[in-house]
């Protein structure tokens, strides 16, 4: 066996260095995919939305109270341009999200507080995975359930007390979406409540407070910023949720606060505008991208605010 020559060692060392560099290059390249995806999303939405605003002015999109995106078959037809006001869609989205949060907030927060503060370890081990199961169910299943089980029940109850409720109502979609959001709120709030330092609780107990008083007067106030953050994240999810509303909320763009009426949402309109065969350049299909851009700004904005609040809160007790 001969000893490696100095030249040979240097060459091997050099090839090793090149190998390291290549591998690092591959790693950096793969982490750029995330950046590329973001750029792709923003670019495609902005690009198509600008083409839309070429045809329909931005002011009409933002301030018009009417949404009826039918395109004409012939150019000279009456009402050929359609109406593209996003307000009714936003109102429908917010109405459904509001109902959902009305259901999810008390259920989610109370279960989080109970699990974090009162429940025995054994109960927690059983209940937590069950709640997480709710989060793992595909939304198309919730949508089916909302449309086929919950909506008829609501309608039957309504007609029982002499109320006329449409078969597609904001209420059915909102209720079911609320249940879907429970695990989000409960698991996030659970983390937040657990992050409250034990010293605060001990101090409260030391002053003779009951456990309930400690929770409502010390732990929850201390955790409030984090809880607000988790609620904002849930709202952002509710606004971006698609399948439940597509299947249960309806298509009519009613500008209403009545939860028993059918309303439509931004996501529903994106789906209806883009499924089916149309030519790609009409104002109708481009409108979907404008709505999506609006939706993205809304959800990301909420998300960034929420994460800021949670971060600040975590630093406070870190």
């Amino acid at each position: 066996m001969s000893l490696p020559t100095e030249n040979g060692l240097r060459r091997k060392n050099r090839s090793n260095q090149i190998k390291e560099l290549v591998i690092q290059g591959v790693l950096i390249a793969s982490s750029f995919v995330a950046i590329l995806t973001t750029i792709g999303i923003v670019a495609s939405l902005v690009f198509e939305a600008f083409r839309f605003f070429d045809k329909i002015p931005l002011t009409e999109f933002l301030f018009s109270l009417e949404w009826s995106p039918q395109t004409a078959i012939r150019a000279d037809q009456v009402g050929a341009s359609g109406k593209f006001g996003v307000i009714p869609l936003l109102a429908g989205t917010l109405l459904i999200s509001f109902i959902a949060m009305l259901v999810a907030t008390p259920l989610g927060l109370l279960s989080a507080v109970y699990l974090a503060e009162f429940a025995k370890a054994k109960t927690r081990d059983v209940v937590k995975p069950l709640l997480e199961l709710l989060a793992g169910i595909p939304t198309v299943v919730y949508g089916f359930f909302a449309a086929l089980v919950v909506a008829p029940i609501i309608r039957a109850t309504g007609s029982g007390v002499g109320f006329d409720i449409s078969s597609e109502s904001a209420l059915a979609a909102g209720l079911v979406m609320g249940i879907m959001l429970v695990p989000f709120i409960s698991s996030l709030s659970d983390d937040v409540i657990n992050a409250v330092p034990q010293a605060l609780r001990d101090a409260s107990f030391g002053m003779g407070a009951t456990h309930e008083e400690t929770v409502t007067k010390v732990v929850i106030p201390a955790a409030t910023p984090g809880i607000i953050g988790s609620l904002l994240l849930a709202i952002s999810r509710a606004i971006g949720e698609t399948m439940i509303v597509v299947m249960a909320a309806g298509l009519a763009a009613n500008l209403t606060l009545n939860p028993f009426e059918a309303v439509t949402t931004m996501t529903v309109q994106i789906v209806t505008l883009l499924t089916g065969d149309q030519e790609f350049d009409s104002a109708k299909t481009l409108a979907a991208f404008a709505i999506a851009l609006f939706l993205l700004i809304l959800t990301l904005g909420l998300n960034i605010i929420a994460l800021r609040i949670v971060d600040k809160y975590k630093k406070k007790y870190a």
Partner: protein, 425 residues
């Protein structure tokens, strides 16, 4: 007893009662959420269980060569497309007496599914020596007959309100008395693609579409996710670029899924001209969606690997890359796989982005590759839920049961992997 003690003990009792009440609110909240879960599952199982059975009608078919293959060519294509209607009608009128008029014959023929003759054709093409013989064959009944046999059509309501008329029910009763109509395990559901007729529709096409989409998704998201996580945890220096990548990943995790669909539509379909409605594009879109989940999960696993492992490897002269890929990554692999499986389970249930890239078409054929047009299981559920035919309600629920079964299976796999392979440091 002095007054103040009484009053405090009274107040104590009130305070404790409040605590008790508060605890009950918590229990109620949990109870309501879980009750909803149970209600939803049982409603779906209740509706879907019957779809695993399908009504079939037994007829003694006389495979007459003169009608099926008059030229004696034995060509499988010809045998498949031969006219089986007169043969089936003959067998039906052998069983059910009094069918002479043309109108009656057409009506009684409707007891069978439109797919029944195709099944006969397939059977003859497979074994041509059956020609000229007679054999008892179980044929697919129509959806209305199927619903009646499952007790989902009330024969007591007015005849005008149902598509199954009293005469049809009389014929079904005759078949029943001869033991020629029975509910059997529904193989069609698991062995065929979509169909306009509920009794001929199956989920195999959608399931295979889902499988191909997930395959593409895995092949893209798993390596990319792991490499990104390794870069961010093991290599990246803390600088502007690293922060920017991190912010990007966190924000991508919060983007509504439908927006990913629009990305797929405008970039992959319109710009790169990839084939529409295919698992290829579906898988790419799903992979971009699951990427943040995989990265975040993998990073937390990498962070949990003790520094001493890296120090030991480096101390023995291993390079950075050797340390990372020979020691750190293998140790983190079970955890990363668990995170990936959970991400894939999410992707399996995803519907909205697939609607945007056209995987929502009516597709009968079973896809054979990632560039064939296809749909996916959740999209199939969405499509069936929209169908007006009553027979689709139970099939939709059955498809949901199958989808949930797959999801639970994947989650169990993840739990098993975590329990079995993950190390505690």
């Amino acid at each position: 007893m002095p007054d103040y003690i009484l009053s405090t003990s009274n107040r104590m009792a009130k305070r404790h009662a409040r605590e008790k009440r508060f605890k009950w609110y918590g229990r109620m909240a949990i109870f309501i959420s879980i009750a909803f879960l149970v209600f939803m599952f049982s409603a779906i199982i209740f509706r879907g269980a019957s779809a695993f059975q399908q009504t079939k009608i037994a007829l003694d078919i006389n495979f007459s060569e003169a009608i099926i293959d008059p030229s004696s060519s034995r060509d499988p294509e010809l045998l498949k497309r031969a006219n089986y209607k007169p043969i089936v009608l003959q067998s039906l009128s052998n069983v059910i007496p009094g069918i002479t008029e043309r109108r009656d014959r057409n009506r009684v023929y409707k007891l069978l599914s439109a797919g029944a003759v195709f099944d006969l054709g397939e059977q003859v093409a497979e074994e041509p020596n059956i020609l000229g013989k007679s054999k008892k064959v179980w044929l697919l009944a129509s959806s209305e007959v199927d619903l009646f046999m499952k007790g989902k059509i009330d024969p007591n309501i007015s005849e005008d309100l149902r598509r199954l008329k009293d005469r049809d029910i009389k014929w079904i009763k005759i078949l029943q008395s001869e033991g020629r109509i029975k509910k059997k395990f529904n193989t069609t559901l698991f062995s065929s693609g979509d169909s306009r007729e509920p009794e001929m529709a199956g989920i195999l096409g959608a399931a295979i579409g889902s499988f191909f989409s997930l395959l593409v998704c895995f092949l893209i998201a798993f390596p990319l996710g792991i490499l990104t996580a390794v870069y961010l945890e093991e290599y990246a220096k803390k600088n502007f670029l690293t922060d920017f990548i991190e912010v990007n990943i966190n924000n991508l995790a919060a983007v509504p899924s439908i927006v990913f669909g629009l990305l797929g539509l405008s970039i992959f379909l319109n710009f790169f001209n990839l084939p529409r409605s295919t698992p290829l594009v579906g898988g790419i879109v799903l992979s971009l969606m699951t990427l943040p989940t995989i990265i975040i999960a993998s990073r937390s696993i990498l962070r949990s690997i003790p520094q001493s492992i890296r120090d030991a490897a480096l101390g023995l002269g291993a390079s950075k890359t050797q340390t990372t890929f020979h020691h750190v990554v293998p140790l983190a692999m079970p955890g990363m796989l668990t995170g990936t499986i959970l991400g894939m389970a999410r992707a399996l249930g995803e519907t909205a982005p697939l609607l945007m890239i056209g995987m929502v078409a009516f597709i009968v054929d079973i896809p054979k590759g990632i560039t064939d047009v296809a749909t996916s299981l959740p999209v199939q559920i969405f499509l069936w839920a929209d169908s007006p035919e009553k027979g689709f309600v139970e099939r939709t629920s059955a498809a949901i049961i199958v989808l949930l079964a797959f999801l639970i299976l994947m989650n169990l796999c993840a739990v098993y992997l975590r329990k079995r392979l993950e190390r505690r440091w």
